[in-house]
């Protein structure tokens, strides 16, 4: 079953057809979402009503276009705001953890490493509710003891950022640590023997070396945050991020405006994906 071992033609053809079918399965839902963004009809379904750009640009109800829909646009803004915070926080913690685990020895290091991986095997819904429960406990405690009502500890954008940060940090740590592991520490020592302080050596030699991994981790955490649903659902406050706003539209049944939005999302995440591939290539 490798190219150097002859196989009957029928087997090869069947195998190739299976793989081709698999890729059809993979891209089909994405293609129909994109195509129906241009359907000149009130529903994203058959019959095909002809081509239109209304679902992007039309300014009035009932055929409200995406770029005039205040609710969805504010959802995009909320998600963007959350994703920026999550990216900054989890990339910083990721860099920090990478140095901690790759460079230092300390008691209980293995236990800490295992705990660091744990968020990856906890379902997102559970992360969400546990943070919700804990922050409410703190808020209730502060309210009953010192009469302080901290609004941000109730479901809010702050809690959404915390919830997403809690597991995205693991991923940024893994990405950055993998790159740091390959770094030749002799280079840092050379910088130090040429008169740089330890911090200056890290800043001018190690961090530039880590840059592809840092950018890659930033892109991944931005996208994971932007697209997160499970954890966000449990912690969301009055400002709805895009995924939550889209979800409620989807349940109500929606116009092809949602297809237009999906197409936009696909284009942006596709662009970011290409960018991260480009950055990764720099790595080799």
């Amino acid at each position: 079953m490798i190219p150097s071992i002859p196989q009957p033609l029928s087997f090869r053809a069947a195998y190739g057809a299976y793989v081709a079918l698999f890729f059809v399965y993979l891209v089909m839902p994405l293609i129909v979402v994109a195509v129906f963004a241009f359907n000149d009809s009130m529903f994203p379904s058959l019959p095909w009503g002809g081509f239109t750009l209304d679902w992007f640009f039309n300014p009035t109800e009932p055929r409200l276009g995406l770029f005039h829909d205040r609710r969805l646009l504010s959802g995009i803004w909320t998600s963007f705001y959350i994703a920026c915070w999550v990216t900054v926080l989890s990339v910083s913690v990721g860099i920090n953890n990478a140095f901690l685990f790759e460079r230092r020895e300390f008691p209980l290091k293995n236990l800490c490493y295992m705990l660091m991986l744990l968020p990856l095997v906890i379902p997102g819904v559970i992360l969400g509710i546990s943070i919700l429960v804990f922050s409410s406990t703190i808020a209730n405690f502060l309210e009953t003891t010192i009469g302080l009502d901290l609004e941000f500890l109730r479901p809010s954008t702050f809690l959404v950022v915390m919830g997403q940060f809690s597991f995205i940090s693991t991923i940024t740590t893994l990405i950055i640590a993998a790159r740091l592991r390959k770094f030749d520490t002799d280079l840092e020592e050379a910088a130090q023997s040429l008169g740089a302080s330890k911090l200056a050596a890290i800043w001018t030699v190690t961090i530039p070396y880590l840059k592809p991994a840092i950018i890659g981790a930033a892109i991944v955490s931005f996208l994971m945050s932007f697209e997160n649903f499970n954890t966000t659902l449990m912690l969301v406050g009055s400002d709805q991020p895009l995924t939550i706003a889209m979800y409620s539209r989807l349940r109500e049944g929606s116009t092809p405006e949602l297809n237009a939005l999906s197409l936009l999302l696909m284009a942006v995440s596709g662009g970011l994906a290409l960018l991260s591939v480009f950055v990764q290539r720099d790595r080799n």
Binding site: I5, N97, F99, I129, M234
Partner: protein, 287 residues
């Protein structure tokens, strides 16, 4: 300041974010959730230690059945993802070379970059009564009237397998990639047929990839919310949906926390037994 104090200080500074993160966002919340789950509301704002929430889970058939159903369907989805994804991974890893191989591998990653919401939306457009597949079947004369393909278990399964595929294919391709062709050739030279080579050489070699793929897929499926709810409709009976109902709709946090803990226990149990079966540690499987 001497070297040793400086080194200790920098270690503390490096440890602080990690400890803060794990303690405040992971460990304490889960401890608190457990504490809430063993309380019962006996009057407004009055709570008492009790195991009533767990008792309710075991005595109320709806809860128990939903839990078992979610577990069974997740196991099935994991198995299907493995069976469907393995030949494709093998094809990419061993049958192809060069640019085309890289291209197909990247194509496998595409759905990951697209939000799960968009992917599920795509399946809804394909499968609904006025959807693409129903329309296609009618125009081919295979169906005389529109067919509703949403809101049943098979559809949930299609969506779950679709969403999970990437997490199976990536670890499989990377372990199969490291299999030396000469081992497969040697298997044939020694008289093995395709089936024995697969069973004795390829699968044992791919085992670490199979295990880490299955663990991640199972866990993601168990904790999935969107796919079962959107593709399965109101009666999808998925356990995460039940947790959501208790927390947000019924505002019964004690029962919801108990449910959350049970789901976490099941997921951890499966992850742990998967690791034990394959003699791996968590660090090797996901790290």
């Amino acid at each position: 300041m001497n070297m040793q104090t400086a080194s200790r200080l920098s270690l503390i500074l490096l440890l602080a974010p990690l400890v803060l993160w794990l303690l405040v966002l992971i460990i304490l919340p889960h401890v608190d959730m457990f504490l809430v789950s063993v309380h019962e509301k006996i009057a407004p704002r009055v709570y008492e230690y009790s195991t009533a929430n767990y008792a309710a889970f075991f005595t109320e058939p709806l809860y128990w059945n939903t839990f078992m159903r979610t577990a069974m369907m997740s196991i099935m989805a994991t198995a299907l993802t493995l069976v469907i994804g393995f030949p494709v991974s093998y094809y990419i890893a061993k049958m192809l070379r060069g640019r085309f191989k890289n291209f197909l591998f990247l194509l496998c990653l595409v759905p990951f970059w697209v939000s799960e919401l968009v992917r599920t939306f795509g399946w809804m457009i394909l499968l609904r009564e006025s959807g693409v597949i129903s329309g296609l079947l009618q125009s081919l004369g295979l169906a005389s009237q529109p067919i509703e393909m949403l809101y049943n278990d098979a559809t949930i399964m299609v969506g779950l397998v679709y969403t999970s595929m990437l997490f199976m294919v990536v670890p499989l391709v990377s372990t199969l990639d490291s299999l030396d062709d000469s081992l497969v050739e040697a298997g044939y030279d020694l008289g093995g047929n395709a089936f024995t080579v697969l069973r004795k050489i390829i699968i044992p070699h791919a085992m670490p990839g199979i295990v880490s793929g299955c663990i991640v897929v199972f866990m993601l499926t168990l904790g999935n919310y969107l796919t079962p709810v959107l593709l399965g409709g109101k009666d999808s009976m998925w356990f995460t949906q039940m947790i959501y109902t208790q927390f947000i709709t019924r505002f019964n946090w004690e029962l919801g926390a108990a449910f959350g803990f049970l789901l976490l226990a099941l997921s951890s149990l499966i992850v742990w037994s998967g690791l034990k079966l394959s003699r791996q540690t968590l660090t090797e499987a996901v790290g």
